[in-house]
């Protein structure tokens, strides 16, 4: 259900901001957060990313495979990286950095595939990151709260 909701949220924002701005990658961020919070659901999350990416490509990109590939590769990398860390090393700043790092490849790809490449790539990317920053901070707060509760 959460996969559908996050995908719909991103789709809703895409309709709202059609032609004006790059939408924040709500779906990908949700999957990354889920990968950290529920590592046992890693394979399910990967396939959700694949199908979500395909749907996105069919709906908006018109070139199936690009988004699903980026989502899949990014999530696999994040899961491998996060699971390779010792439990004591899984800090809040590292969690935030993982979220930010996961959003960069897909954001850059969208910028290069869109008309933004002709003017102000950096501006378009900064704008998208400014939308995503509150979401990342919210996820970090959630992760910190979860860490605190699990320690108790």
């Amino acid at each position: 259900m959460i996969y559908l909701l996050s995908w719909y949220a991103q789709d809703f924002l895409q309709v709202l901001g059609t032609g004006t701005a790059l939408v924040p990658e709500v779906f990908l961020l949700t999957l990354v957060v889920l990968s950290v919070f529920r590592p046992e659901k890693g394979p399910e999350i990967l396939w959700a990313a694949f199908f979500g990416g395909v749907l996105w490509d069919l709906r908006w990109v018109g070139f199936p495979g690009i988004t699903s590939l980026l989502y899949g590769v990014t999530l696999t990398a994040v899961q491998l990286f996060w699971n390779s860390l010792p439990v004591s090393g899984r800090t809040v700043p590292l969690f935030g950095a993982s979220l930010l790092g996961a959003s960069i490849p897909i954001a850059l790809t969208r910028i290069f595939l869109s008309r933004y490449r002709e003017g102000g790539i950096f501006t378009a990317w900064l704008l998208q990151q400014s939308y995503m920053l509150p979401l990342i901070l919210l996820a970090c707060a959630l992760y910190a709260w979860r860490l605190k509760n699990s320690d108790v």
Partner: protein
């Protein structure tokens, strides 16, 4: 926090990557995905409807605001243009009035009337070159409005009858009573030195008297009003309503040369050009 998971991620990740690459390889064959894309668009049009409405409303609001701003700017430009046009019209109207006044034979245009001496003096645009001399009477609509006090080549100063320093000997035509008319410096005109008990009444005509060399006799000044005031024990002052309209003073008629003619024994010339009331 959970410990390390079993480590199947890379296998699934590899499968996802391979599936995506296969899709990418088939992507150029657009007809394969067109149906799926259309179907997805149709299905999603329902949940996306609120977003479409919101986006449309926001766009229309932005357009409306932009149009309103454009209209506001246009309105400001038109208002500025209107002010400029009004100013141009006023200047043109004033020029026309000036030309009309200067075209009237025998009339002098008022060129200066200072607020501080509003009821005392005005400057006119005719002077010695036009035969005007100090002491000449000045009329408006056939009624005495003042006297020339000084004249230069191209202009002259007129002391108005409402000035407190100009005193004019007058006669009440109906009773032949003599008196003096003087202004109060505030637009009022008073008949002085008439003994109490004389049978004066409202509406009687006041004219210049033949007891002065300064002004020729018989020039109408105005009429008596009913308002009186007591100046001393045995004299009443009567308010005089001037025939000349000093609040609407644009042009004046100067009886130039009347005193010289009078002194030289010549008959008194009639006022030139000015319309009698």
């Amino acid at each position: 926090m959970a410990d390390k998971s079993p480590g199947k991620e890379w296998v699934h990740g590899l499968l996802v990557t391979i599936a995506s690459l296969l899709l990418l390889a088939a992507a150029p064959q657009r007809q394969i995905f067109r149906g799926a894309s259309d179907l997805l668009g149709t299905i999603l049009s329902i949940p996306e409807y609120p977003a479409v409405i919101l986006e449309k409303t926001a766009r229309e609001t932005a357009f409306w605001l932009r149009d309103r701003r454009a209209l506001q700017t246009r309105l400001e430009i038109l208002e500025e243009e209107n002010v400029r046009l009004k100013l141009a019209w006023s200047v043109g109207s004033a020029r026309n009035l000036q030309q009309d006044l200067e075209g009237l034979a025998g009339y002098a245009r008022v060129t200066l009337r200072e607020p501080l001496s509003w009821w005392s003096e005005v400057r006119i645009n005719k002077g010695l070159r036009d035969g005007i001399r100090s002491g000449d009477p000045v009329l408006q609509r056939g009624f005495l409005a003042g006297r020339i006090t000084s004249a230069e080549a191209g202009f002259a100063w007129v002391e108005l009858i409402t000035s407190s320093s100009l005193m004019v000997p007058v006669v009440i035509e109906e009773t032949r009573d003599l008196g003096v008319v003087a202004g109060d410096g505030e637009g009022g005109l008073w008949l002085l030195y008439v003994p109490e008990g004389r049978s004066l009444s409202e509406g009687m005509t006041v004219s210049t008297a033949m007891v002065s060399e300064a002004l020729p006799p018989g020039i109408k000044i105005g009429t008596l009003s009913s308002e009186t005031r007591r100046d001393s024990n045995s004299y009443l002052a009567w308010r005089v309503l001037p025939g000349s309209t000093l609040s609407n003073l644009y042009a004046l008629e100067v009886l130039a040369g009347t005193l010289r003619e009078q002194r030289g024994g010549q008959p008194l010339s009639a006022p030139r050009g000015g319309p009698a009331p």
